[in-house]
């Protein structure tokens, strides 16, 4: 079942397919009439499923085709179940009987959706220190195992912690959405707070540890501290202004051991926050003492937009939220003065000074705004080194770029997609390169891959160099989102060919190669240039026709997968080509010859032979030239006929000629008579 392809640098895992509708691996039946609405979301639907033989109950996660689940993670978790994480039983591409669509379905252990830590806390219960330690032990083990497999962002929050009889059972599966997409803001680590929900993936357990700390604090105190604020935004401002751990720990009394845990798991700066190794040490009793740190500091405040801010995170959060106001703020030297009192290195201070220096601005208003936007992004990356990549109206983690770009393109958010493309081209992650725990960090290898793949991308031009191609290149497991393939799960070239042939057979009128298919093929085959016309490149009317472009593209595919036969596609192509040639070829004899040859070739089902027939361009040139010469001749003849058919003119001319001839004859006779009389 396991088959791995390497497509460029992205790892591709071929998916198993089920032959029977609504059934995974011929064993597990999905009950499409029994949806679990509490768990379904915009990326997948949950249904009950049962083992056909033993009637054991499971949950089937049926993914939407416009979502890119992390197949690598699913495959790993299927092959290597982790104790304390809800188990993946099986996964497969299944055709659903209700819509006849092929979908990826992941089967997981069933659980009681009402038995979570959230519902437990809603019953005004709390957990004691021992229960907390047990829960942290289990979750730390899960996080450690996930970290070893480079799996991160498991959306830890009370709703995702499954309980049984008041004891931790397991973490819910977190594969059902983009990483942390549905994570509530209070559990989001500060480095991810500004990020777009679909762009919160970081390759670090630090954000999970923050979420764990907040969840455990809520469970231990049986109190949601953010509910003290009207809006979650106010809580964010409060926690960043005071730093989370100071803000929360100043409100409650805790045993020293727990205080140590909460202090180091809820640190705002990711670099200072604990790792899983620290958690283990704490659980083993190696870290017990708390360094006494005043929870009330002497504050170094700075005013921005009628508010005072005393921490870097609070200021950067406010600057991102109030971007327009930040444009005038960065021109104020007080920012530099404030920064010089904070713990910044000399290099950072010099950079800040350069950015807030008024003289560097150009006098042009438009350039000024553009420069200001660049400056704010740069400034935020210096001030908040753990933070995300921030642009005007957009924040994202660097590691989430591939899936985020897919999300934006599929949801037709072109403006944001263009911004992400700019982030890639500007290599905006460079500013975060030295800070591994920051949301803006990207490993050198990943960065190189991104830049290489984006190198040929020119938005708004050809499909093979468009943003869609980049999306498919970056997401090896993304399925082709063409409207034509709506009912098909196509993630490889062979699957594409087979699906196209099936569509050509069942629904030939709808057969059409759209930009998604071209982009998908370009990405899979790593085509950097536009697909050239396989036939008659010197005839734009023919070579630029969609059917010829389709032929050219499918021919490339068949070259890569010669063993896959596509007779129905061939038949449609030939039929369309015949229509095309009926319109564009002129010489009747030549046209008939070409059409009859195409008919013969269509039976064999090989595109290369169609191309072979049409490869001799000279005969088409002759036809083209011959036609225009024939048109010219015909026009001349028409003109001649028109002139000759002018009866009045003919009569006048011939009458005049007759009169002239009469005069001539009379003169000749006169001369002859005169001469003969004289002689």
């Amino acid at each position: 079942m396991e088959r791995t392809w390497i497509v460029e640098n992205a790892e591709f895992i071929a998916l198993p397919r089920s032959n029977i509708e609504d059934t995974i691996d011929n064993v597990f039946k999905i009950h499409l009439n029994e949806e679990i609405l509490e768990l379904s979301n915009e990326f997948c639907k949950y249904y009950y499923a049962t083992d056909i033989e033993e009637q054991e109950e499971y949950f089937a996660i049926v993914f939407e085709n416009n979502f890119v689940p992390n197949i690598k993670n699913i495959d790993f978790l299927y092959n290597h179940p982790i104790e304390g994480l809800n188990k993946i039983i099986n996964y497969s591409v299944v055709r659903l009987s209700s819509t006849k669509e092929e979908r990826l379905v992941v089967l997981v252990e069933s659980y009681n959706v009402e038995n979570t830590l959230e519902t437990y806390l809603e019953q005004n219960k709390s957990i004691n220190a021992t229960e907390l330690e047990e829960m942290v032990t289990s979750i730390t083990a899960v996080l450690t195992n996930l970290q070893d497999a480079r799996i991160f962002c498991c959306s830890i929050n009370p709703a995702n912690i499954l309980m049984q009889d008041g004891v931790f059972l397991a973490l819910r599966e977190f594969i059902d959405s983009y990483p942390d997409f549905y994570q509530k803001e209070q559990y989001l680590a500060p480095e991810l707070i500004e990020c777009h929900p679909a762009a919160r993936f970081v390759e670090s357990t630090k954000s999970d540890i923050y979420a764990l700390g907040i969840t455990m604090l809520q469970a231990y105190t049986a109190r949601a501290h953010w509910n003290d604020h009207k809006k979650i935004h106010d809580y964010n401002i409060a926690r960043f202004e005071n730093t989370t751990y100071k803000y929360l720990l100043s409100r409650i009394k805790l045993p020293d051991k727990l205080r140590v845990f909460f202090k180091w798991t809820t640190r705002d700066d990711a670099s200072m926050r604990w790792k899983t190794a620290n958690l283990k040490e704490w659980l083993d009793g190696k870290i017990t003492k708390i360094t006494h740190e005043s929870l009330v500091d002497n504050k170094n405040t700075i005013g921005f937009n009628d508010h005072n801010y005393s921490t870097i995170k609070a200021l950067s959060y406010a600057m991102f939220e109030q971007w327009t106001e930040s444009i005038s703020f960065i021109k104020d030297t007080k920012l530099y003065k404030w920064a010089s009192r904070e713990q910044f290195s000399n290099d950072d201070l010099t950079s800040i000074q350069n950015l807030v220096d008024k003289k560097s601005d150009t006098p042009f208003v438009v350039t000024n705004t553009l420069n200001a936007n660049i400056k704010i992004s740069k400034l935020l990356s210096i001030l908040d080194k753990d933070g995300s990549i921030r642009q005007e109206g957009l924040a994202l983690s660097a590691a989430s770029i591939p899936t985020f770009l897919h999300y934006l393109v599929i949801n037709n958010k072109k403006e944001l997609a263009e911004k992400v493309l700019k982030v890639i081209k500007d290599e905006a992650w460079v500013s975060y390169q030295e800070y591994e725990d920051s949301a803006g960090h990207l490993s050198r290898a990943q960065a190189d891959t991104l830049v290489t793949m984006a190198m040929h991308i020119q938005s708004g031009t050809s499909t093979t160099r468009g943003i869609e191609k980049l999306v498919y290149s970056l997401n090896a497991n993304a399925i082709c989102c063409s409207a034509l393939l709506k009912d098909h799960y196509v993630s490889t070239i062979p699957e594409l060919l087979m699906s196209l042939d099936l569509i050509a057979e069942k629904n030939p009128t709808k057969f059409n190669i759209d930009k998604h298919i071209v982009a998908f093929v370009s990405a899979k085959l790593d085509l950097t240039e536009d697909i050239k016309s396989a036939i008659l490149p010197n005839f734009p009317k023919i070579s630029e026709n969609p059917i010829v472009r389709t032929l050219s593209m499918l021919n490339i595919l068949q070259t890569y997968e010669p063993e896959i036969e596509i007779p129905n596609v061939c038949r449609i192509i030939v039929s369309d080509l015949k229509e095309l040639f009926k319109d564009h070829l002129h010489n009747v004899e030549f046209k008939e010859k070409i059409l009859s040859t195409l008919d013969e070739v269509a039976k064999e089902g090989k595109l290369s032979e169609i191309i072979q027939i049409l490869s001799d361009q000279q005969q088409f040139i002759n036809d083209y030239n011959g036609y225009y010469e024939a048109c010219r001749q015909a026009k001349i003849l028409e003109q001649k006929i028109k002139t000759l058919n002018n009866e009045r003119k003919i009569f006048d001319n011939s009458l005049l000629l007759g009169q002239k001839m009469t005069v001539l004859v009379s003169y000749v006779l006169c001369f002859v008579v005169t001469v003969s009389v004289i002689l």
Binding site: H586, N587, V588, E589, K591, G626, Y627, A630, C631, Q633, A634, L637, E638, K640, I641, L644, N645, E647, I650, F651, N653, S654, L655, L656, L657, G658, Q659, K660, M661, T662, V663, V665, S666, Y667, L669, C670, V673, T674, V677, I678
Partner: protein, 166 residues
């Protein structure tokens, strides 16, 4: 630009050659009448009877000149020629005789003379009326055959190359 200039020059030359040809023909058509006037002047010097004869004999020409509306004066030229064909043998006879007046009187009084002279003029008139029409018929027949030939060629061309016949 150069080509259109050339075309204009060419069309101009055609027009000029056509007007030249017209002028030449008009001159040719009037030549016979000039000859007739010259003959009249010569006859006037020789004998008054001969002049009377010539004037009377040339009456068809005089009428034709008055009634000829043709641009090239073809009618009067044709009738004048035939008129002279009828007159010249008698003028020669007068010229060769010893007494011009006497022969002129004889010719004037002979009815046969007038029948021959006016008959010749009448033949000229008939020729003028019939010969151009014959030429018209012949020319039209030739044109129709040419049109049919062109149409056949045009149809074959259109059939071979799929040109839409509008």
């Amino acid at each position: 630009m150069f080509r259109s200039n050339c075309l204009c020059n060419f069309i101009g030359k055609i027009d000029m050659s056509q007007s030249d040809s017209d002028k030449s023909f008009k001159f040719a058509a009037s030549l016979i009448k000039v000859i007739a006037i010259v003959i009249a002047l010569m006859v006037m010097v020789i004998s008054k009877y001969a002049l009377i004869f010539f004037a009377a004999a040339m009456l068809p020409t005089i009428f034709a000149i008055f009634f000829d509306k043709n641009e090239h004066r073809c009618l009067s030229a044709t009738i004048c020629s035939f008129n002279l064909i009828g007159v010249i043998p008698y003028l020669i006879r007068m010229w060769e005789s010893s007494s011009v007046d006497y022969v002129a009187k004889q010719i004037l009084s002979n009815v046969e003379t007038w029948m021959i002279i006016y008959g010749a003029a009448f033949i000229g008139q008939l020729l003028y009326a019939s010969m151009p029409l014959l030429v018209v018929k012949f020319y039209a027949a030739k044109t129709y055959s040419k049109v049919a030939k062109h149409e056949k060629k045009h149809k074959a061309l259109c059939d071979q190359w799929g040109i839409d016949l509008q």
